[in-house]
């Protein structure tokens, strides 16, 4: 991010340098332009250093320290090497938490994308009231998560929740399902809600991508006798690939760090059955006050996100080069 900002800042200065209409002699001008470039870059670096690098370094350091409540006051936190990481890896919750995170992320991504794409394709056709309908679908995105999360908590309630009521009435369930109150169902419940939260984002970006596909392609294909599925398979999907890559990678990074949905619905419970790495880190730091271990989990999470971000940047770079 920082390098792009820097490059963007450099570009106008470089142009001034080469442009014919500007002031006095070459050397002086070049010198001045270099200073200007530095002056443009410095704020970006200050910002990144102050708000990204400094806290990140703090978090990494804290992962190697025995950081307690008193460390906050005294500033004394002895270094313990990898002890926090080994403790976390041997925590009875760790295996389950990693598996939960993987299932939650994969489940959310697949369904958010599939439903988002279906809706985008649907709204790509013009029909009466299509516009208002489309904007209504954005509501989950606009609502504060505390509000929609609380509403979902009521909907999913075992005894008085509307979802169980409907399922029982339609004879789809023989007894009320303890969505949030059973170790078997809680992960499914939080994933369902997170899918609902993520659909609008997927739909909006994919809709934008669809708009960019020229209509003539479809007309030509139709003339050649391609049916709707063929057109979707051979025009829509390939031409949507760059957008798909963006949506899935961003979706992955967003989903892996989801916190509020789970916190509001189940607090990671019952018995850690809907715990992901984020709620686990929160629990370690702020319920059990084991800040070093909390930081260790946070760092693992950052590592995972960085790996996927690198994969994403690599793939977009290759695409851009292939495009040229």
């Amino acid at each position: 991010m920082s390098t792009t900002a820097a490059r963007a800042a450099l570009r106008p200065a470089g142009r001034t340098d080469g442009s014919p209409q500007a002031g006095p002699t070459g050397n002086h001008r070049r010198h001045r332009a270099r200073w200007a470039a530095v002056a443009f870059v410095v704020p970006a670096w200050l910002y990144v250093a102050g708000f990204y690098l400094y806290p990140l370094a703090g978090s990494i350091r804290m992962g190697f320290q025995n950081y307690t409540v008193s460390s906050f006051y005294t500033g004394v936190a002895p270094y313990v090497g990898w002890a926090n990481y080994t403790a976390v890896l041997h925590d009875s919750h760790f295996g389950r938490t990693v598996l939960n995170t993987a299932l939650f992320t994969a489940g959310s991504l697949v369904f958010q994308f599939a439903i988002g794409l279906a809706l985008a394709v649907f709204f790509n056709r013009r029909f009466p009231l299509g516009g208002p309908l489309r904007s209504l679908l954005l509501v989950p995105w606009l609502l504060p998560l505390v509000v929609s999360g609380t509403a979902w908590r009521w909907i999913l309630d075992t005894d008085s929740g509307v979802l169980n009521h409907v399922l029982l009435q339609l004879h789809l369930a023989s007894h009320p399902i303890p969505w949030l109150a059973s170790t078997h169902d809680s992960l499914i419940a939080v994933t369902l809600v997170n899918i609902w939260v993520g659909i609008p984002f997927n739909m909006v970006i994919l809709y934008g991508g669809l708009q960019a596909i020229p209509g003539e392609l479809y007309e030509a294909a139709a003339l050649d006798g391609a049916n709707a599925w063929h057109r979707f398979r051979h025009i829509t999907l390939p031409l949507l690939r760059p957008v798909t890559a963006v949506v899935l990678t961003l979706g992955l990074i967003y989903t892996i760090k989801v916190f509020d949905v789970i916190m509001i619905l189940t607090q990671g419970g019952p018995a850690g059955s809907s715990q992901t790495l984020t709620t686990f880190a929160y629990n370690l730091s702020f319920q059990q006050l084991l800040f070093g271990r909390g930081a260790a989990v946070g760092n693992l999470l950052i590592l995972v996100a960085v790996v996927f971000a690198a994969v994403y940047l690599r793939s977009t770079r290759e695409q851009r080069q292939a495009g040229r």
């Binding site: 200007a36 443009f40 102050g50 500033g75 303890p178 629990n283 059990q288």
Partner: protein
């Protein structure tokens, strides 16, 4: 901007860059200085922080504080922070060495904060605790010194719906066996016999402790036969359908809502719910001590509630803050506070008076004599063990795990 671009001799605006740099610097400074509070400042204006964000406490506590501030001759700046942000905020202030002069903190957190060295020892400052319940004094102590003191405390008891009991021809239960049979008899869809909170954090542990301790279990040994007995009781209640499966997601406020709505004939809850319950005129309820395993036993409940602490600053401020705490502990102030907020005064005499004048409070007052501070057994190790116990409760109630297996796992997690 356009006017500047028209001047060819200054292709790049230096004043502008300077401004940007200055702004960035200011941002950084602001980022470093967010924690700054009042340490070392004027002794006449003190800072105060608490997490009472609901009525009636959130209006009534500032009123009493202001009254005490006037008596001492200082000004108090109030700050109310939501419960879940309270400790993080306090820690952030601790790292900036600007703890509030007065903070009302949850008593199990006291040991951790006292261990920082950031709190003023109230015993050294000459605060006497005579006439207060020894258990309450113990809840505010760390390494033999008193760092926090509660004007009032709370505990847990069994609320029961009088109408439901009369209808079923039952008496409020006194033993576990009676609790089980009564709860079963009172269960009639959509009403459950009993409601309690088994949420997966300290709140759930707090609700379980009356059963855990009364059975004779100890937090140092989570998988003792007594502990298994207590957890089996809860599992039986949920398993038989006498309590909802949702107890693992209910906070104490949710439990109270269920009782208010008539969805539960009994509930385990604290005296702070009394103002809300009394506001519902058609609800007839009574309060009895927590049932015990055998009729001869005495209930051992955890002490709930908050303690006043004084943060280090300078001698003059600390002295003023201690004076305010003394005033808050005064007979009238603590009585008013206890009455409106639904607390039991720490002062044994005042509590005895309350028990006779207010029958709703009698059960709570009766229990305080044998109540236990949560940190007595473990000190600063409490939060970790509390989490392990909450997990065990949840895996037994919601995961179908055997209570003994769940508690053995908790014991090894607590040791990790």
């Amino acid at each position: 901007m356009p006017s500047r671009r028209s001047r060819p001799s200054h292709p790049i605006a230096r004043p502008g860059t300077a401004a940007v740099l200055a702004a960035a610097g200011a941002l950084l400074l602001a980022a470093c200085g967010t924690g700054s509070g009042g340490s070392g400042g004027d002794a006449g204006s003190l800072t105060e922080m608490d997490y009472y964000d609901a009525a009636p406490q959130n209006t009534q506590l500032p009123a009493i504080l202001d009254e005490c501030a006037t008596q001492v001759g200082v000004k108090i700046k109030h700050q109310q922070v939501p419960r879940d942000q309270f400790l993080p905020k306090l820690l952030q202030q601790a790292s900036a060495r600007s703890l509030p002069d007065l903070a009302l903190i949850d008593n199990p957190d006291l040991q951790q904060l006292a261990a920082t060295g950031g709190l003023v020892s109230l015993s050294k400052a000459g605060l006497t605790t005579s006439g207060l319940y020894p258990s309450i004094v113990a809840a505010g102590q760390y390494q033999g010194q008193t760092y926090g003191i509660a004007p009032g405390v709370n505990g847990l008891a069994l609320y029961y719906n009088k109408d439901a009991f009369t209808q079923a021809g039952l008496q409020p239960p006194a033993t576990w066996q009676e609790l089980k049979t009564d709860a079963k008899k009172l269960t009639q869809s959509p009403r459950y016999g009993l409601a309690f909170s088994a949420v997966g954090n300290e709140e759930g542990t707090f609700q379980f402790e009356p059963f855990f301790w009364t059975a004779g279990a100890d937090l140092k040994q989570l998988d003792s036969p007594q502990a298994v007995q207590a957890l089996s009781l809860w599992k039986d209640l949920v398993g038989s359908g006498a309590a909802s499966k949702s107890v693992v997601t209910w906070t104490q406020a949710d439990v109270n809502d269920q009782f208010l709505a008539g969805n539960a004939a009994m509930m385990v809850n604290g005296p702070w719910q009394l103002p809300t319950l009394n506001a519902k005129k058609d609800l007839h309820f009574g309060v009895v001590p927590i049932p015990v395993p055998a009729a001869s036993a005495k209930p051992v409940t955890p002490l709930g509630g908050e303690v006043w602490t004084v943060g280090h600053s300078n001698a003059a401020r600390e002295a003023n803050a201690v004076k305010v705490v003394k005033c808050l502990l005064g007979h009238d102030e603590s009585a008013t506070w206890a009455k409106d907020a639904g607390y039991i005064p720490s002062n044994q005499q005042a509590a005895a008076q309350l028990a006779t004048s207010d029958p709703q409070m009698a059960a709570f007052v009766q229990e305080v004599a044998t109540a236990r501070a949560r940190t007595t057994e473990l000190g600063t190790a409490y939060p970790k063990v509390s989490q392990a116990l909450a997990d065990a409760i949840q895996s037994a109630l919601a995961g179908g795990k055997d209570p003994k297996a769940a508690l053995s796992q908790a014991q090894s997690a607590a040791k990790n």
